[in-house]
Amino acid sequence: WDDDEDAEADQVDDTDGLDPETERAAWKLRELKRVKRGREAIEVAEKEREEVERRRNLSKEEREAEDAEHLERQKEEREGKGKMG
């Protein structure tokens, strides 16, 4: 803590209230991003819940058909990767 590093530290100014309006505006932007992130998280959770609900309401055959389709797609993707190498 006793190093002569003050000069470097001064390059980052942590004095508050130099430009109150800009400082508040910057905070507002950060806060809006947080609000947005929170809302998106809720949306994602909602979607997942809906998906689970939807799957539950399908008949056994429909579910299996969907799984088969999904597996088929995965397989294709894997083959695609192989060719790239």
Binding site: E8, Q11, D14, E23, R24, A26, L32, R34
Partner: protein
Amino acid sequence: MSHRADAKRMLDDRGGYAGPTIHGINPAHLLDKPVLDRVVDSYYWKEQCFAINEETLCDRAVDMTYFGGTYGQQKPTPFVCLCLKLLQLMPERDIILEYLHQTEFKYLTALAAFYVRLTFEPAEDVYTTLEPLLGDYRKLRRRTRDGGYSLTYIDQFVDDLLTKDRICATILPRLTQRTQLEDDGKLEERESPLGAELDEIDQDSDDSSVMQINGNGVERDGSIISD
């Protein structure tokens, strides 16, 4: 009873720790082992953190001009050293809240916030204690790992504490996600300090989305958008 001083017992890693615990473990272990070792070996710890209490700790805390974990050759910042001291002292809740809410020394606030995140439980208590600080946009100087400095803000730091797993060279204890606590009815939805302003912004963006759907190409002030 041990013949060793309390400080020694807390830092004795041969097992058989019998002192008070946080989250069921020796509080010193809330810091990562390598950082803990660096702190205990540092001059700052040995000279400035020796025989201080909750009150004299403030004298050290107000001298802080930056926060961070370790930098350069893994040199610990006074911030983590004082954090270990707090873990050792385990001040009463009221004292920590006093550190947190005093408005004169922002680095003391940051230190208290870090301590709250490390030690408070249950999770909803961490959220309710720290979230008010998301409205505090005072600037903080942060020591980065390479030894440089960067600028951040109290609200940003607190947000990181609530959402990230690792900060200031420390792996934070697991914290249940906010949405989960809301679903369980343990926590109310967070009210943004923007309050009414946020509603206005929502209103505006609703208007603009309606405009996009209508696709009439007219801006809100009535001028035609030219392609």
